[in-house]
């Protein structure tokens, strides 16, 4: 009965409703305002890369308005993409990243399967250990690793320092622990009935993995692949330590060591190189954003 009475006193309710919606619109406007500010803050460096990369060196040294291109030119792109050295960096980076992704998947997917499903002695400890190794940073290991590979070179005569393929041994230490960790999370979330049904049908563990787990956990697999690729593409410290000859360098180190000659900074080319170096991860991100974000948040929310 009382509800009827309240319904009749409509006007007051309408006013209240109106003020709440006005609050909402203002909150929304403020949100957009601050989001725009933060988006500008986020996007200024990459946009500035693009602006500078389209300028000729004369325009850069003339110190005109740095935010505007008066004479757009592609000469930086032409110079870099026809330079054998730069293409060499690009290929080195591409090969290293692709092979490291393959190695990472081959190691971490079976291991994650075994740790998630086939409980064996010490499997819980090992899973925790995998996560702990992920927390050991590259900056702690680069000196002993450098010395280790130098010693191996002295003992066996196999020269690994200053060869791009030494990175194939080292990068998995960055990618495998995290990929194993998030794959354990994805595999553990698959209902047990699925693999029990497979086992009852006579499938082996290997078949259970390839026929059931990999297809079902494909989103996780894609997220892990993206993570491994971006990490190996972006890695800077290890190649800086382990490779020095210009034909062995990967992209980030190559750009920094060859385009910066003494105090002469060829900024047009440096920015072009940086943009081209940032392009593969950005393209992957643009097309597979949801997988990228899933992988990012999985580390803390899964497992």
């Amino acid at each position: 009965m009382s509800t009827l009475a309240i319904d009749k006193s409509g006007p007051t309710r309408n006013v209240k409703y109106g003020s709440m919606s006005r609050d909402r619109t203002w909150a929304l406007r403020w949100s957009y305002f601050f989001l725009t500010l933060f988006a500008i803050f986020s996007l200024v460096p990459p946009l500035y890369m693009l602006i500078t990369s389209l300028k000729g060196s004369a325009e850069i040294s003339a110190a005109t308005n740095p935010w505007w291109i008066y004479h757009p030119t592609l000469e930086n792109y032409v110079q870099l993409l026809t330079s054998n050295q730069f293409l060499r960096f690009f290929w080195n980076s591409a090969w290293v990243s692709i092979i490291v992704v393959t190695i990472t998947m081959l190691i971490s997917v079976p291991a994650a399967f075994a740790l998630a499903r086939m409980k064996f002695w010490g499997s819980a400890t090992l899973a925790t250990g995998v996560f702990l190794t992920y927390l050991i940073p590259d900056t702690l290991l680069f000196i002993p690793l450098f010395k280790m590979f130098a010693t191996i070179g002295d003992w066996t005569g196999i020269q690994l320092i200053n060869r791009w393929y030494v990175l194939l041994f080292i990068y998995p230490t960055l990618t495998v622990p995290f990929c194993t960790w998030i794959m354990i999370g994805y595999f553990a979330s698959i209902p047990k009935e699925l693999d029990e049904a497979a086992i009852i049908d006579g499938a082996s563990w290997f078949q259970t993995l390839t026929r059931i787990f990999i297809p079902v956990a494909l989103p996780g697999l894609i997220a892990a692949t993206i993570f491994a690729f971006t990490v190996s593409w972006a890695q800077f410290l290890y190649p800086l330590v382990f490779t020095t000859s210009t034909d062995q360098l990967v992209l980030p180190v190559g750009i920094i060591t060859t385009l910066i000659k003494g105090d002469v900074f060829n900024w047009g080319q440096i920015m072009t190189g940086a943009l081209l170096g940032a392009a593969p991860p950005l393209i992957i991100y643009a097309f597979l954003m949801d997988y990228y974000i899933a992988g990012l948040t999985a580390g803390a929310t899964k497992g």
Binding site: A114, M271, T301
Partner: protein, 312 residues
């Protein structure tokens, strides 16, 4: 491959004859194949992570030419050097202030993104995560160019507001500020994404209940949002503390430790001493100073993860 041929036998054996022996055999086979599947992982971690970690302990006790055992000689030498204490101080300033601002900005931005209509969130999230996607070595180059002493685009813009040319990387205080700024720019999107995921998992009913109880926006954050997000905030902060403390790329490219070692942090100084100065034992000793803080953070993260594992 081994288990492909053996496993059907094991299943068949277990099915036909339910003898204890057969079952035990199958179990043993399962643990064997599980062990074989994890073997590459174990080898990789043991040879390329655990062994080097202990090897650096050993390296730290040798003299420069690595021919003689000097015990704690390297550490005694470090403790007497002023630069070392400068590096300790700067590492702490760098890590703590960068993580603090990253967490704060991430929290605020996550709320703003959460505020806008759901169909527009994707676009904003996509734009705001770009700094995290670009390899830090590449984006730091853009910042270096933005901070250039003579062509700085920031100084060009600021000159219209009458603010004099700022020595972004030339002056000790400004250089520290710039390094932290770039790190915040790079790391804040990660916090934003994590907090956004956590915000979405807070049940709407809690806010409705709080609104009915007359809570204002501050009380809603303090009594509803923060307690619900406590776990994610703790893990993200600790994780970021590790990564920031061990940072190398940004400082190395932006200032290379300069001016006068006033922006060196542990990683860059270890590189300068160990690789560029070819004093590997001293470099190893410097980087070992990162271990205590990493260990503390790791213990807390682990405790958190185990706790959550028990709840689930």
């Amino acid at each position: 491959m081994v288990d492909v041929t053996f496993q059907p036998n094991g299943v068949a054996a277990a099915r036909t004859a339910r003898k204890r022996g057969g079952l035990r055999n199958a179990l043993r086979r399962k643990s064997t194949s599980a062990f074989l599947m994890t073997l590459p992982l174990i080898v990789l971690i043991a040879v390329l992570v655990i062994y080097p970690a202990f090897y650096s302990l050993h390296l730290a006790t040798l003299n420069k030419s690595m021919s003689r055992f000097v015990g704690f000689g390297n550490f005694e030498f470090l403790f007497k050097r002023e630069t070392f204490w400068l590096v300790v101080k700067q590492s702490c300033i760098f890590a703590i202030s960068a993580v603090l601002f990253k967490a704060l900005i991430g929290f605020i931005v996550a709320h703003f993104v959460h505020n806008v209509p759901a169909n527009k969130q994707r676009k904003w999230r996509g734009m705001l995560l770009v700094p995290w996607v670009i390899p830090p070595a590449m984006s730091t180059l853009a910042w270096l160019w933005l901070f250039d002493p003579s062509y700085s685009a920031f100084n060009y813009t600021l000159s219209f507001f009458g603010i004099g040319p700022i020595p972004w990387t030339g002056d000790a205080v400004w250089a520290r500020f710039s390094v932290i700024l770039v790190n915040v720019w790079y790391g804040a999107p990660f916090f934003m994404i994590m907090y956004l995921a956590a915000l979405k998992s807070v049940p709407e009913q809690l806010y409705e209940a709080a609104a009915i109880d007359g809570a204002n926006w501050w009380q809603r954050i303090w009594y509803v949002t923060l307690p619900m997000m406590r776990n994610i905030i703790a893990i993200t902060t600790l994780f970021s503390l590790i990564v920031t403390f061990a940072n190398f790329d940004i400082v190395r490219i932006l200032t290379a430790g300069g001016p006068l070692d006033h922006t060196h942090i542990f990683a860059t100084w270890a590189f300068r001493v160990g690789i560029e100065g070819s004093d590997i034992p001293l470099g190893a000793s410097v980087s070992l100073f990162m271990v205590p803080i990493l260990a503390v953070a790791a213990v807390f993260i682990l405790r958190d993860i185990n706790k959550r594992g028990n709840e689930a």
